[in-house]
Point group: C2
Chain length 463, copies 2
């Protein structure tokens, strides 16, 4: 169908949605464009309308209308996903959940809470700080908890606290039919039937619309310490990571930035370290346990040729360090103003990380644009930031073939094409390689739960 045909087919449905939502259904081109684009600017497809939902019941009502008219639904939290998850490639209605931003319940004694899907990570952590609690999953962006659940987000703390898969106790989900289901309970574990919670976590809006999330929380550690260390070689840095894990040190974060990225980060002025492969560490625990972790890792750093094991014991120093780390994406972009970066996202078994990153660094030499490397190396997950000019077909082709080689390499080492960004539009072909015959199993589940294919169509699988 052409774009006009699509809009015509959906006219009746949109009319019903207008009656239901009034001004909370927007057809404004700027609102639609903004909701169909990701932050990197690579994927753009505006929905026919944006519905600003305020409750699970309302999401259900919207879904019933969309279902009756076989009109696509694209759930939207903060729009920070990186693989085109929010692009409305088949038109339809974007359901913006950002207005559903309330804490439903906080059970501090049980170290859990239930939030509406639109609550952002920062807001959540601000609202539980006074209870001495925090939520550890930290993808970098101030994403919504619903979006983080839908894309199985992880980030810097995953080496210690796991990903969203480990930290979601249950969900409220609106199915394609409009039916509202609750998965999981408030118990910390359960063996009661299929693990629907973990099926919806990472399903990227293709099996249902997540409207509430029950989360595990953690007591704020009594002591936190951060450190930075530069290495003359990448191998020394990565070997330090491996040995740290083998010593059973319960490290909270262990992040790599290569020399190119360190130079970019330095330019922003927040920190100033040598332009060398660098590890950022964070240790959490009791004072005594943190001191012990620091001593063990300090020894490993020295043994592996690391220098400048600089301490940041004060909260403001730590904040500065981690701000620098989180700004790395933007710092990288400044290396080539006007570029449209692609963040690749492979994850490999940790013992292959050094070889995989070194081969990748060699491959980067052939690229016609800068490509710094960063990684959540404790998990074996790393990103190459391809600072390409989207207007240049030759650069786009070079980026695409580089990414393909990178993923082939990750698969060769027993890894995955996406550690944390998800499949969306960008990794559909690579998921096919990786999943092999298990893809038919995924497709069967999709067909069973969304027989008309209205839930975020065109994502994860080609439709």
């Amino acid at each position: 169908m052409s774009a006009e045909d699509i809009s015509a087919a959906y006219a009746a449905g949109l009319c019903e949605l207008r009656t239901l939502l009034g001004a909370r259904l927007s057809s404004s081109p700027s609102v639609r464009d903004q909701h169909g684009a990701d932050p990197t600017g690579h994927f753009k497809a505006a929905p026919d309308a944006v519905a600003f939902a305020t409750s699970t019941t309302e999401v259900s009502a919207i879904t019933c209308i969309c279902s009756a008219h076989k009109m696509p639904i694209i759930p939207y939290g903060c729009g920070t996903s990186l693989e085109g998850q929010v692009a409305a490639v088949h038109g339809g209605v974007c359901i913006d959940l950002s207005g559903m931003n309330q804490m439903v319940e906080l059970n501090s004694s049980d170290l859990d809470c239930r939030v509406e899907a639109g609550v952002t990570l920062r807001k959540l952590n601000e609202s539980i700080r006074q209870d001495g609690l925090f939520f550890p999953v930290d993808p970098g962006a101030d994403a919504s908890l619903g979006g983080m659940a839908a894309t199985r987000a992880s980030g810097t703390n995953a080496v210690r606290y796991g990903t969203m898969s480990h930290n979601v106790l249950g969900l409220t989900v609106v199915l394609a039919s409009g039916a509202i289901i609750r998965t999981g309970t408030r118990a910390r574990k359960s063996a009661a039937g299929y693990d629907l919670t973990r099926l919806f976590v990472g399903s990227e809006g293709t099996l249902g619309v997540i409207t509430e999330v029950q989360l595990k929380l953690y007591p704020f550690p009594s002591s936190i310490s951060a450190a930075v260390s530069s290495f003359s070689s990448l191998r020394g840095a990565v070997d330090t990571v491996l040995q740290t894990l083998h010593c059973g040190v319960p490290i909270a974060r262990i992040e790599l930035l290569d020399e190119v990225l360190m130079e970019a980060v330095n330019r922003r002025g927040t920190i100033n370290y040598p332009a060398l492969p660098t590890l950022f560490f964070e240790f959490q625990g009791t004072t005594q346990s943190v001191e012990e972790q620091v001593q063990i890792v300090g020894d490993l750093v020295r043994e592996n040729g690391g220098a400048q094991f600089e301490w940041a014991l004060l909260p403001e120093e730590r904040t500065r360090l981690w701000r620098a780390r989180h700004e790395a994406f933007w710092a990288a972009r400044d290396l080539r103003p006007g570029c449209t970066p692609i963040a690749t996202d492979v994850c490999v078994p940790i013992s292959s990380l050094t070889e995989c990153v070194l081969e990748t660094k060699n491959d980067i030499q052939e690229l016609p644009f800068p490509a710094p490397v960063t990684g959540h190396v404790g998990d074996g997950n790393f990103h190459v930031l391809l600072l390409m000019d989207a207007g240049s077909p030759s650069e786009a082709a070079a980026a695409e073939s580089f990414n393909r080689r990178l993923i082939e390499r990750a698969h060769r080492y027993g890894g995955t094409c996406t550690g944390e960004h998800g499949v969306g539009l960008g990794k559909i072909d690579y998921l096919e390689w990786e999943a092999g015959s298990s893809l038919s199993c995924m497709r069967a589940i999709k067909a069973a739960l969304d027989p008309d294919g209205i839930l975020n169509p065109g994502k994860i699988f080609r439709t």
Copy 2:
């Protein structure tokens, strides 16, 4: 169909299986009876034959034959499940995987391994000990890793290391069609499509036959210490657990035995402690970190009226303590020789644990048989061992109504009807209560992946 009709309908299929497997297909009544019964003796339904499989390819061939004849398949590891998961209630073929007992690969640098489904927990841990590694999930019985994955097992270490859900990286599964799929990769995390691994973990053989399991392993802690403490009140014991978790102490095990069970355990002679509510602790980490954990928890024990915080620093003392803990089920049974115990299995939010256990203890007063209580209290999971006489209809009725009240109570507190034993036959009605409208979602997945309903029929759902 009557039993004779079933056997007749399956005669052609069984004949084909005989050609495929020769002597490795057994129709011996004793073999069939043994494979259709669980260790408690509550659930008994012999399959028509038992196939002793030796490879994934062979499981696939068996499944193809069963599929062609719409003949049920019941996967079998060690037969230690407690809710009738192995009972062949619709007849068919039990696939015994105990012969598939090889380590497929051990990647000690990456802290992972791949085992065939029939490898038992003890064998796994023996074979990786020399590499300084261990696998922490410990359900008590020496179960097979395939069975533990299939039932989402957990046990004493889950408070620190999580359940099978957290420790399985990937699976090889034979689907109802006979197709062989691999889920997951060797990467520590992935956002590549639906999390099929966690869908099969806990599916109790109803979605596919698990033939290989990729597992996370852990470095053996440099220091381990165990302790036992008696409390004058149950409340004091459970409050100690709550406060330990709130202090962020990374405790490895924290187990409760009530005064009735302590008396039973004492009678076996392995240990001798007061017949009072008792906590068993295990601390793991570096020497310094263990000392610190011990100090924090020791203080909490004293504050909550605990006494006899007895240490077991030597491995043989620890082994003795944990042997006593693991023998608790058998010790309980000795309280009433000839009884047929039922192990209930609720799990509640930790802050409700005291109230829920106290209400349950009151309820136990009304029972016509002894019913000691034990629990993995760090997770909020506890078991009442109902030492009933299976030959007495009134005791059976009392046990059933007690279990129903217990589960209602757990649901009232936001908990689950099964923390770790699974649904099998015993919890089908309770899963319906708990899952509510999400049950239709589970049924849709079952129908999509097993359209003829040949995989462990009658389990999880009534068929």
